[in-house]
């Protein structure tokens, strides 16, 4: 089964998962006052967030409104 058929373009799903990972990393890092917490936030959280947001923006171009789940169902 294609991911698209699940009702949401794959890029949005991956973007969402990356953003969840980034936000979770940020939340966990804020519980700890230590250089490692800063590095975890900056390297892992920052990367997940940046890639997630960029993938979302790219997916807006990759999947124009015609491929919206609602329209896919019409097809």
């Amino acid at each position: 089964m294609k991911v698209d058929q699940l009702g949401f373009p794959w890029a949005f799903q991956i973007s969402g998962i990356l953003l969840l990972l980034g936000l979770s990393t940020e939340a966990v890092s804020l519980f700890w006052v230590h250089p490692i917490a800063f590095i975890a936030f900056f390297v892992f959280g920052g990367t997940f967030l940046a890639v997630g947001v960029l993938l979302f923006l790219y997916s807006l171009v990759l999947f124009p409104s015609s491929s919206h789940p609602q329209d896919l169902r019409k097809n």
Binding site: E26, P35, I36, I39, G46
Partner: protein, 204 residues
């Protein structure tokens, strides 16, 4: 009213919930309102969370306990409690001449344009050396201590601009004469001789 950190956690939680809701129910994005919600959840709020989190981490990295959380800095933390007025960091720390919560940062930052960014990059280098490299033994500053950091607070103070300091002010400002290594105020952290001194303990 929640603290700024509390507000950040609320924002993080809200963003995570919105993301999960949209991922589980993608049909929500069929309407204009849903698209706006998706843009908020996938772009605007994560960017806001990231910037806010970075700012929070930057503020935390100024804290004394942040600097002293590395094992190698432990004796420098103890040097703040030396019961001797000639120890410059201890005298500043114990008499609250500097904010005790940001004691290391206050003296070791760079009071110049983009100085904070510079010291944060130094901080990243510290972390790299601590975990992936070989720390200096004994550790020392990357560059000689700049009088500018002392003069940031002391310049203009009545107790400082006296018959001792005023004649040498030009040399102090140009770093030709160091505050801490020219024989005037040269008892700084001196971690090798910490055990010779009594440790001061603040009364609760």
């Amino acid at each position: 009213m929640p603290s700024p950190l509390g507000l950040l956690f609320i924002l993080l939680g809200t963003t995570i919930v919105l993301l999960v809701v949209i991922l589980v129910r993608p049909s929500l994005t069929a309407t204009i309102g849903g698209k706006v919600l998706a843009f908020l959840a996938f772009c605007a709020l994560p960017v806001l969370c990231g910037v806010w989190g970075l700012s929070e981490h930057f503020e935390r990295s100024k804290q004394t306990n942040f600097c002293l959380s590395c094992h190698i800095m432990e004796p420098y933390g103890r040097s703040l409690y030396v019961d001797d007025v000639n120890h410059i960091p201890a005298a500043h720390f114990q008499n609250h001449r500097i904010p005790v919560d940001e004691a290391c940062y206050t003296c070791h930052t760079n009071y110049a344009m983009y100085g904070t960014v510079g010291v944060k990059l130094h901080g990243l280098r510290h972390v790299y050396v601590e975990y992936l490299g070989t720390p200096m033994n004994p550790i020392h500053l990357y560059e000689p201590f700049n009088n500018r950091e002392c003069l940031h607070c002391h310049a203009g103070a009545r107790s400082f601009e006296n018959e001792i300091h005023t004649p040498m002010m030009d040399q102090l400002k140009s770093n030709q004469l160091s505050c801490v290594s020219s024989g005037c105020h040269d008892t700084v952290h001196n971690i090798d001789s910490l055990n010779k001194f009594k440790q001061w303990r603040a009364t609760e």
